[in-house]
């Protein structure tokens, strides 16, 4: 029954239990904290402030007492004095504030009672304090801060003056010299009076009065002294008794009056003392006691709360610990139980899935629950069942029965669809293969015949090559012969060239020689010219001589003869020169001709040389060409050899091809046999004739088994 509850609900319940217990623990903790808070709050907000206020009140009382004590100090200056009153006021204010603070706090009944008592006691004390203040103010009014001191001073002055008067008498009667005393300004009293600042009107009045007489007093002493110096004893005496005595009396009276005032002040002062030190003190003691009591009450209360809280807290902690342990155990227990309930069956299912993963479809689980695990087990079983069905189909395909039909379980049954496609594909492919095998067999037969033809062709090729080869050999021989002839011709042409060059050189030499001859001829010519010139000049000379001779007349006859002779000599020279010149010219001409001919010959020889050179070049070219030809022929021969090789290879290949064709045809027969193992459905066979690659789109094959359970 638990098994049939959904896993989600099981888990939720477990967690809720845990949550519940946690809440309980939390609640307890919260409660403990609350109480702790309350207690602490009370202490902090009520007890401590209460105690604090009370202590302040206590302190302020003390402070006021101290102020009273200070006020009792006669040596206090005005500022300090006033300050004390201010302080007293401040202390009272602070007290009031503390009182208010305390009053606002919550109190117990006992406290209230004590508080009332306290109020009464404080009131009483206040009264006494007022009295004290009253006295103090009165004293202030007299403005005699230190009455005792004043009293002693006044007495002193009185005595001084009395002493002075006695001294005067001494002077008068006993002539005891009297130092000073006549200058009132020098008198201590005057000096003191001058600096006596006192607001007490009565005193001031008396003082004023005294001073008058004081002055008179001293003046009169002065008079007396003068009189005494003059020696007027009686006058002095008279003066003493008439003048001085009055002044003296009044002075002393006035002093007494002043002393009375001082005495009043002293009384007040004493009263103040009494008030402060006794009365106030009494009342204050009462107040203090009460305050202490209240403080104690607060203190006790605080302690009690503290103890209480501690107790509560420890209780809470203990119970929390207890519940936490309980919860932990519970949680562990629930966890273990739930886990076992879930992981057990899941483990079994995992085993089954692993088996399926390995390929073992025989395993199953026997889980019959209604919850998710049960559903999972059901699904697994369904899956295995379907897989088994597909396994059966594939088995049938494996034995060659391609007539299976695959019905996909749903739109998402990719395996089913794939199998379907596979079966269709296989059917189609097998039928295709069958037809192809037939084609291949045909092709193999054709190949056989073709290869035989090829073999024949190769043989013919080989024989033609033979013929070509022999022709090439002949060409090669011929070429060699040509090359040899060319070489020889080259040699001859070179020789001819050499000879022609030699002849040319000789020609050149000859031409050079002829030129030299020409040159010499020219030189001779030049010389002949010179001779001719000489002849000419001689002729002229002769003529001149003849002229002179003619001029000389008969004396000149002999001279004329000589001149004539000289002329004929000149003529002969000229003639000889001329002839020689002609000969030279002839010679030159011949030489020129000869040179021309030589040059022609030279040119011809050069032509021969050039021709021979050209012939040599041509022949060289012929030789080179022959060589190349020979090389070419060799290469051709080589090529032919290769072709021959290839032809032989081809023959061999053709034979191999025939063999292979044979083999192929036997193999195709075998293939056909193999394919015949498969049985394909008729529709598939028909469809294969127009087979497309879209195997998945194939329609369902005729009546296939469906192994759905």
């Amino acid at each position: 029954m638990i098994k049939n509850i959904k896993i989600g609900i099981k888990l939720s319940c477990g967690f809720l239990m845990i949550v519940g217990i946690t809440l309980v623990i939390g609640m307890m903790g919260w409660r403990g904290a609350i109480s702790l808070g309350t207690g602490a709050g009370e202490i902090a907000d009520v007890r401590l402030p209460g105690i604090d206020s009370l202590r302040i009140m206590h302190r302020e009382f003390e402070f006021i007492r101290a102020t009273q004590q200070t006020l009792l100090n006669p040596l206090l200056d005005d500022q300090e004095h006033k300050k004390q009153f201010d302080n007293m006021l401040l202390a009272q204010q602070r007290y009031k504030a503390a009182w208010n603070t305390y009053e606002a706090l919550p109190k117990t009944a006992e406290e209230k009672l004590l508080l009332d008592q306290l109020a009464v006691a404080v009131e009483a004390w206040n009264k006494e304090n007022k009295v004290f203040i009253d006295f103090a103010q009165q004293l202030d009014a007299t403005d005699i801060r230190n009455p005792v001191e004043l009293m002693s001073q006044l007495q002193k002055f009185r005595n001084d003056h009395y002493k002075l008067s006695c001294e005067v008498l001494e002077l008068i009667y006993h002539d005891k010299p009297l130092q000073g005393g006549d200058d009132y300004r020098a008198c201590d009293f005057s000096i003191w009076a001058a600096s006596f600042e006192n607001k007490n009107q009565v005193l001031q009045d008396w003082l004023t009065r005294i001073l008058q007489f004081h002055e008179t007093f001293h003046n009169r002493i002065g008079n007396i002294k003068k009189l005494m110096e003059k020696g007027d004893k009686s006058g002095a005496e008279k003066a003493y008794y008439s003048e001085m005595t009055d002044a003296l009396t009044v002075t002393f009276q006035t002093f007494e009056k002043m002393e009375q005032e001082a005495g009043k002040a002293i009384d007040l002062y004493k009263k103040m003392n009494m008030q402060a030190l006794v009365k106030c003190r009494e009342k204050q003691a009462v107040v203090d006691t009460l305050i202490d009591k209240v403080i104690k009450i607060n203190d006790d209360a605080a302690k009690k709360i503290s103890a209480d809280v501690k107790h509560k807290v420890s209780a809470a902690v203990n119970s929390a610990i207890f519940w936490m342990i309980l919860e932990a155990l519970l949680a562990i227990g629930i966890g273990i139980v739930l886990t076992r309930m879930i992981t057990g069956p899941i483990g079994k299912i995992v085993d089954m899935a692993a088996a399926v993963g390995r390929g073992d479809l025989k395993k199953t689980v026997t889980i019959n629950q209604k919850d998710e695990i049960g559903m999972l087990a059901d699904a697994m079983r369904t899956m295995v069942r379907n897989l088994n069905g597909l396994v059966e189909i594939t088995r049938r395909i494996s034995i060659g029965d391609l007539t299976v039909t695959v019905t996909p379980l749903s739109e998402d049954d990719t395996l089913g669809y794939s199998l379907q496609a596979m079966a269709a594909m296989l059917s189609g492919t097998i039928s295709e293969i069958t037809t192809s095998a037939g084609c291949v067999a045909q092709g193999a037969h054709q190949l056989n015949s073709t290869s035989q033809d090829m073999s024949q062709g190769a043989t013919e090729q080989a024989s033609s090559l033979e013929e070509i080869s022999s022709s090439m050999n002949q060409i090669a021989a011929q070429t060699k012969y040509n090359a040899e002839n060319a070489r020889q011709a080259n040699l001859l042409a070179s020789e001819a060239k050499v000879s022609a060059e030699k002849g040319d050189a000789q020609m050149n030499n000859m031409v050079t020689a002829m030129r030299d001859i020409n040159e010499s001829s020219r030189n001779i010519s030049r010389i002949i010219k010179v001779i001719d010139e000489i002849a000419f000049q001689t002729n002229l000379l002769a003529l001149n001589a003849a002229v002179e001779a003619a001029r000389a007349g008969r004396h000149g006859k002999g001279f004329a003869v000589v001149a004539e002779e000289v002329r004929s000599l000149a003529a002969r020279s000229a003639k000889a020169a001329r002839e020689t010149s002609e000969l030279i010219e002839g010679s030159v001409k011949k030489i020129t001709d000869g040179t021309a001919m030589a040059e022609k010959t030279s040119a011809a020889l050069k032509g021969i040389v050039a021709a021979a050179g050209k012939a040599t070049d041509l022949v060289a070219e012929i030789a080179a060409a022959s060589v190349e030809q020979a090389q070419g022929v060799a290469q051709i021969t080589q090529g032919l050899g290769q072709v021959d090789q290839v032809t032989q290879q081809n023959t061999a290949y053709a034979e191999e091809c025939a063999a292979a064709a044979q083999e192929l045809s036997s193999q195709s027969t075998m293939l056909q046999q193999l394919v015949s193992v498969f049985t394909i459905s008729q529709s598939a066979a028909l469809d294969s004739l127009e087979f497309s690659d879209d195997g998945a789109g194939q329609a369902m094959l005729a009546s296939g088994d469906d192994e759905r359970s």
């Binding site: 010139e533 000419f536 001149n544 003849a546 004329a560």
Partner: protein, 171 residues
């Protein structure tokens, strides 16, 4: 005394034309100008020299080439070819200057070549043909036959025109 006498003799010989005409008379100095040979009486000829530098003198007739310096003497020179209105020929080493004496003035004649002193007797001399006298101005004295050749004999005095002589005398 002999010297003086000789000189005087020479001088007297010179002035004594009758005696000396024999020796000088038939002798002609032949020269060529152009294609023809010309001759002049030897007694007119002072000297024959080869061609030398002619100093050009301006403002003279064309055939007066200029003057030359002959051993310190300044002699005007006339080109015969130009005088005969023949085309001028370039002077070569055969060209000679025949220095003639004309009325006391020496003049040089530039000729192509000088031949010889030919002896031409009078019977061999023909008078020139009657051509317009204006052209030749009478300077052809005659034509002399020497062997196969004919030489034109010139009258030197006529060769130079009157005005030329005056001009030359200015020099």
């Amino acid at each position: 005394m002999t010297e003086q006498k000789g000189r005087i003799d020479i001088d007297s010989d010179l002035y004594d034309d009758d005696d000396d005409e024999d020796t000088q008379k038939d002798k002609y100095l032949t020269f060529t100008v152009g294609r023809e040979e010309y001759g002049i009486e030897i007694r007119c000829v002072t000297e024959i020299i080869g061609i030398q530098k002619i100093t050009d003198v301006p403002d003279m007739p064309a055939y007066i080439k200029g003057v030359i310096n002959l051993r310190g003497k300044v002699i005007p020179v006339m080109d015969v070819r130009l005088r005969f209105r023949m085309p001028e020929r370039e002077y070569d080493d055969r060209t000679c200057i025949v220095v003639v004496n004309v009325n006391g003035a020496s003049v040089g004649l530039v000729v192509d070549t000088v031949r010889e002193v030919a002896d031409i007797p009078e019977n061999q001399i023909e008078l020139p043909p009657e051509v317009a006298e204006a052209s030749t101005q009478g300077y052809i004295k005659g034509l002399g036959k020497v062997g196969e050749e004919v030489k034109i004999l010139l009258d030197v005095e006529k060769l130079l025109r009157k005005e030329d002589v005056e001009a030359l005398q200015v020099l």
